[in-house]
Amino acid sequence: MLKLKGIEEVYYPQTIKETVDILRSHGDLAEVVGGGLDISVFPNPRIKFLIFLDNLNLSYVKDSSEGIKIGAMTTITNLIESDLIKDYMGGCVHSVLPEIATELLRNQITVGGSLGKREPYSDIVTLLYGLNGKIVLSDGEWDEIVSINDFYKENFKRLLKERIIKEVILEKYPKDYFFSMKRYVRNATDIALFNMATLLKTEGKMITSARVAAGSRPKPAYLMQGAGEFLKGRELSEDLAEEFGKFVEEHIEVGTDTRTTEEYRKNLSHIYAKRILLEALEAAK
């Protein structure tokens, strides 16, 4: 079954500069390929040129003064096997990763590919939104670090015609930060019907800042601005957890698709918002 009938040529650049030069020369007819899952499952008939990043040495997880750097070609399996990720945020990030997709697909899905495609069902995008990941864009001559918010505020697909995602930087949050991610699936290998990631900064039980990201809505992941404002300055308690659940259910932007309904997603958002705060309360004790 030849899905990508229109492909005329493929490239194996050795440097980011070479990659970007090829990308610029072919414009909208070229596509950069990370793991290649998306393009093989959802082929774009307009694409004539594929640029493989396998020779750029962008598969790594390493410590740095700026944070944990994750190369764009790093797969979910690579993340799971990384000792840095195992320890990151008390293991809360690591525990989510083996639940995403299947072993076979975790070997193929890359961090850069997930960000560059921003598919609605991506758990990686929600995860990085929640963690306030920084995206390093590069044209091979200079790098630009942008927050995930700013990246998606821009026309990111246009940005990626001039540069590629080189790596992601995760801030090394101190111990007064709490992170949790939840995803709802019908069976173990299903894509999420809804997912939510939350990062809280606390002083004792007091929440001093909060980020709440949600995805598989079925629209792409987004940062729920109002939810962060709602939690800021509030004290963790069971009552707040319930109140927050109601707030999220009322304000979250979700919809209906063939897999489930808006109402069901709203119910899930209530449950997960509440559970996350109860977990944070437990952690604060």
């Binding site: 899905k3 990508l4 493929v10 290649g36 594929l50 299947t102 072993e103």
Partner: protein, 157 residues
Amino acid sequence: MKVKYIINGKEEEYEIHPGEVLLDVLRRNGHSEIKGNCYLGTCGACTVLIDGEPHTSCTILAAKVNGKHITTIKGIGDLNNPHPLQKAFVDVGAVQCGFCTPGTILSAYALLKKNPNPTDEDIKKALDGNLCRCTGYVQQVEAVKFAVKLLKEGKDE
């Protein structure tokens, strides 16, 4: 375009369309031991090892893995000299219609290379992308555990 692979230890060169997936290239060139089904990466029937790591060959672009080592089910053992996993799947009755078996065994093979003493959960997690239409999952987990025993007894590859 031309691509080269080392398939089951033997170098092979193929003429491919640059938009083809690996599954189609391998089957066209005689590797019918790899099964094809969903073309979405959801069933795992087309599993092969690429540089030792299990992948769904229906979602891997053939051109992308040019030069890589590819292992199919025939690369780990045959009728006369089966790998302990192959023997275990037969002995335990983990093979029913057999369509998912090559992919499932390759996923198990990759697991045992990384983790020679897997728990039941490790096995289930490693095989989570290989769907069995006959729903013989219990026997598959038992077969992998039996293979671990065989390997420990020295009936290694």
